[in-house]
C-alpha cells in the first residue's frame, strides 16, 4: 500500500549491515554514572554561555548553559548533582580538539525539575512550537546535531514537504530501527504534530528496506491511529548506503535535488530524523527537555551489543561497562558507524546530542599503506554527490585550494564510499576534511583581514580629520592675529598710553636723544 516507488541516487554502496548484532534486544536505560560531562561548544563553533557556577546544586532539567538564540540551544543537566568544575575535555567530534566542559558529580537522587509547561496540542501556533523546540534543546539527533529550530527557519520558501528520516543506512547503527520498533507511536504523532504546524501537503516517513520490523510497526501504528494519520506515507527506500543522507533521500523521494550550498528548507522541504521527531513530540506533549538519547553500543569488541537510553554527558566507558565491558583490552572505538564515524582514543569522552553509536572493534592488523592513485575512477562511480574524488584528491595533495573549491569540495558529505572502494587504500575523506579545514582557515583569515583593513582605514580617516581640524584652528588663530590686535588690546594700549601721559612728561626728549 504505502511502500511507494522511489527513485534512486547516483553512486553509493551496498554494505554488510551487521545490524543484528544490536537490534535483537529492546532499548535498555543506561544507569546513572558518577560524573556527567557537558561540552559547551555549540555547532556554530561558539561556546554556550554558562548559566551555573562551580558548587551549584543542579537538578535534572536545570539549565547549565546556552539558550540565548536559535543556534545556541540550551544544554540541560541530565541528573541531579553538584557542579564540580569547568574543565577542558576532549570533544567527541571528527575534528577532535578539546574545549571547556561542565562537570557534574551526580548525587544518585536523580531529582528533576518540573517539566516545561504543557502545550495544548490542538491550539498551538507554529511560533509556539518553534519556541518549544528551542526551549527543549532539541537538535538533529541523526548525528549532525544541527539545531532543529534553526534548520526550519533557514529557507524563505514555505515548507510543503516533511520527510521523516528513518533510513538508517550506515552499517552497525540500529538506534533509529529500535526507536521505530518500540516507539512508532511517538514518531507518528510527532510527525502529525509537525505537519499540522507546517501545513505541508506531503508527509513521508522513510525507512530502509532492510528494516522490516520497523516498517511493520509504523504501518500498524498508522492503522491504529486511523484517519488522522492517513496523510502520512510510509516509504521503503533501497538499503544502499548512503540512502539516509538528506541530500540523497530528498531526490529519491521527491525527485528534487537540493541545490549546492543551500539547505532543503530553501526548496520547501524539511527533513528530520525520526529520533528528533520523537523528541519534539515528547517536548510538546510531556514537556520533556532533551537530556537523553538512544545510543547503539555495538561491534565485536563489546560483550553484549545493544541499544541504550543514555543520559547526555555520560562517559563512553560507563556505557561500555553497561554492555559487559570490552572483549579484549586491545580495541578501537569509533563514534558513529564504520563509514562516517571517527575514531577516538579514550573512553572518557562524554555522549553528546550528536553521538548515535559507539562502535567497538577488536583491532585487526595494521591499516594498509596507501599507494599512489592510479586514476582508476572507482571513487567516481560510487560518489553519491557526483563529485570527482580522484580529481579533488589530486588538487588537495597539490595544496591547490581554489581548484578543490572549483571541484565543489564543500559538497562532499564525507560518506566514505570512495575510501572503501579505493584499490590504493587512500584515505580520501581524511584528505578532504583537511582541505575543508584549510579552506575554512583561509576564509576566516580573510574575514579578519577585511575587518582589520576597515578599522585601519577608519583610524586613518580619523587621524586625517583631526589633523585638518588642528590646521584650520591654527589658521584661524594666525589670521585673527594678522588682522591686527583686537579692540580690547587696542583699548588697553590706549589706556596705558594715557596713564603714562598723565604721570610723566611726554618722552619726547628721550625720543629726540
Amino acid at each position: 500500500m504505502s511502500a511507494g516507488l522511489v527513485g534512486s541516487f547516483p553512486g553509493g554502496l551496498v554494505l554488510e549491515g551487521h545490524k543484528s548484532l544490536s537490534n535483537q534486544t529492546p532499548i535498555r536505560p543506561a544507569g546513572l554514572p558518577a560524573r556527567l560531562i557537558f561540552p559547551l561548544r555549540q555547532r556554530n563553533g561558539e561556546d554556550a554561555p554558562l548559566r551555573v557556577s562551580v558548587g551549584d546544586h543542579v537538578l535534572r532539567g536545570s539549565l547549565i548553559a546556552g539558550g540565548t538564540h536559535l543556534m545556541d540551544p540550551p544544554i540541560y543537566a541530565s541528573s541531579s548533582g553538584q557542579v564540580m568544575a569547568f574543565e577542558d575535555h576532549d570533544l567527541p567530534h571528527p575534528y577532535g580538539g578539546s574545549n571547556r566542559c561542565v562537570v557534574i558529580e551526580t548525587d544518585g537522587q536523580d531529582e528533576s525539575l518540573p517539566p516545561l509547561p504543557l502545550m495544548d496540542a490542538e491550539t498551538y501556533s507554529p511560533e509556539s512550537l518553534l519556541q518549544r523546540i528551542h526551549e527543549a534543546g532539541i537538535v538533529g539527533l541523526g548525528g549532525a546535531a544541527f539545531p532543529t529550530a534553526a534548520k526550519w527557519l533557514k529557507g524563505e520558501a514555505a515548507i510543503h514537504t516533511l520527510i521523516v528520516n528513518g533510513a538508517e543506512c550506515e552499517p552497525y547503527i540500529t538506534c533509529d530501527d529500535l526507536l521505530l520498533r518500540e516507539r512508532a507511536d511517538e514518531v507518528l504523532r510527532g510527525t502529525m504534530l509537525l505537519s499540522r504546524c507546517l501545513d505541508c501537503s506531503t508527509i513521508l516517513i522513510a525507512v530502509e528496506s532492510d528494516m522490516p520490523e520497523a516498517h511493520r510497526a509504523l504501518l500498524d501504528t498508522k492503522t491504529a491511529l486511523g484517519a488522522q494519520a492517513a496523510a502520512i506515507k510510509i516509504v521503503q527506500v533501497p538499503a544502499r548506503y548512503p540512502a539516509g543522507g538528506e541530500r540523497q533521500l530528498i531526490p529519491m523521494l521527491t525527485g528534487r535535488e537540493v541545490p549546492s550550498g543551500t539547505v532543503p528548507a530553501a526548496i520547501g522541504i524539511l527533513c528530520q530524523n525520526v529520533a528528533t521527531v520523537a523528541a519534539i513530540y515528547r517536548s510538546v506533549i510531556w514537556g520533556e527537555r532533551l537530556d537523553s538519547r538512544i545510543v547503539t553500543v555495538t561491534g565485536d569488541g563489546v560483550k553484549t551489543p545493544q541499544n541504550l537510553e543514555v543520559r547526555l554527558g555520560t562517559p563512553l566507558g560507563f556505557l561500555i561497562e553497561q554492555c559487559g565491558d570490552y572483549v579484549t583490552p586491545d580495541r578501537q572505538i569509533k563514534l558513529g558507524g564504520p563509514m562516517m564515524g571517527h575514531p577516538v582514543t579514550r573512553d572518557t569522552l562524554p555522549v553528546t546530542r550528536s553521538v548515535n553509536t559507539i562502535l567497538v572493534t577488536t583491532t585487526v592488523g595494521p591499516t594498509p599503506t596507501p599507494q599512489p592513485c592510479i586514476r582508476c575512477g572507482a571513487c567516481v562511480d560510487v560518489c553519491p554527490t557526483r563529485l570527482l574524488p580522484q580529481q579533488l584528491y589530486w588538487h588537495a595533495q597539490a595544496r591547490q585550494l581554489q581548484a578543490t573549491l572549483d571541484q565543489h569540495l564543500f559538497d562532499c558529505i564525507e560518506c566514505g564510499c570512495c575510501d572503501v572502494v579505493c584499490p590504493s587504500h587512500i584515505s580520501l575523506v581524511h584528505e578532504f576534511r583537511q582541505a575543508k579545514q584549510t579552506a575554512l582557515a583561509r576564509q576566516q583569515a580573510n574575514e579578519r583581514a577585511a575587518h582589520a583593513r576597515q578599522r585601519f582605514e577608519a583610524r586613518q580617516a580619523r587621524k586625517l580629520r583631526e589633523q585638518q581640524d588642528r590646521e584650520t584652528a591654527a589658521q584661524q588663530r594666525k589670521s585673527s592675529l594678522s588682522q591686527g590686535a583686537s579692540p580690547k588690546i587696542q583699548e588697553a594700549l590706549e589706556r596705558a598710553r594715557q596713564k603714562r601721559a598723565s604721570r610723566h612728561l611726554p618722552p619726547a626728549s628721550e625720543d629726540a636723544s
Binding site: L440, R455, E457
Partner: protein
C-alpha cells in the same frame, strides 16, 4: 556617395559611443594597489617599512618596494603577490622579519600603570583604555602587529598565541 555617408554616420556614432563610454565607464583610480592590498594580511604592523598594508601595496604598485617584505603574510602571501604581478615567487626577505604563528596582544593588568601610551600605537584601535585607567586589548580586533610592545614603558604587554586551528565545527 551613399556609402560614404553611411560610413561616416557609422563612424561618428561609434566615436560618440566610445567617447561616452570612456567618460562613464572610466576606471576610478588605479586598481592595482587595491588588488595588492587584498592579498596582504592587514596586520598593519609596518615590518615592511611602510606605515600599514595599504601604503605598502601602493609602494609595490609604484615599483618602489619588493614583494618579499611582508613577514606576517609569509611565503603564501609572497606567492600570491608573485602570481598577481607576474613575478618570480620567492620567500620572505629575512631582513624584514620572520613569519610567526598568529598571536594577539594581552595586557597583564597588575603590571599596567594606565599610561595610555599604547593607545596611539595601535593601528586598528584595538586597545581600550584612558589615562590612569586600566587598559585592555580587544582580542577579536587585535591583528597581532606587536606595535604596542615597544610603546609600553613597563613591558606589561605579552603576545599570546591565537588558537591557530580553524573552526571546523562550521563545516557541515
Amino acid at each position: 556617395m551613399l556609402a560614404i555617408l553611411v560610413l561616416s554616420l557609422l563612424f561618428a556614432s561609434f566615436g560618440w559611443l566610445l567617447g561616452l563610454s570612456s567618460k562613464h565607464l572610466a576606471v576610478q583610480g588605479d586598481p592595482l594597489p587595491n588588488k595588492i592590498d587584498a592579498l596582504l594580511p592587514q596586520t598593519q604592523c609596518g615590518q615592511c617599512g611602510y606605515p600599514g598594508c595599504r601604503p605598502y601595496a601602493e609602494a609595490i604598485a609604484r615599483g618602489e618596494a619588493d614583494i618579499d617584505q611582508c613577514p606576517p603574510g609569509g611565503d603564501a602571501c609572497v606567492q600570491a603577490l608573485a602570481e598577481l604581478l607576474g613575478r618570480e615567487a620567492k620567500s620572505v626577505n629575512p631582513a624584514f622579519g620572520t613569519e610567526k604563528p598568529p598571536a594577539v596582544a594581552f595586557i597583564d593588568e597588575p603590571r599596567c600603570i594606565g599610561c595610555a601610551l599604547c593607545l596611539p600605537a595601535c593601528p586598528v584601535d584595538a586597545i581600550l583604555g584612558a589615562p590612569k585607567f586600566m587598559h585592555t586589548v580587544i582580542a577579536s580586533e587585535c591583528t597581532g602587529c606587536e606595535l604596542c610592545l615597544p610603546a609600553c614603558p613597563v613591558d606589561c604587554i605579552d603576545m599570546k598565541p591565537l588558537a591557530a586551528q580553524p573552526d571546523p565545527w562550521r563545516a557541515s
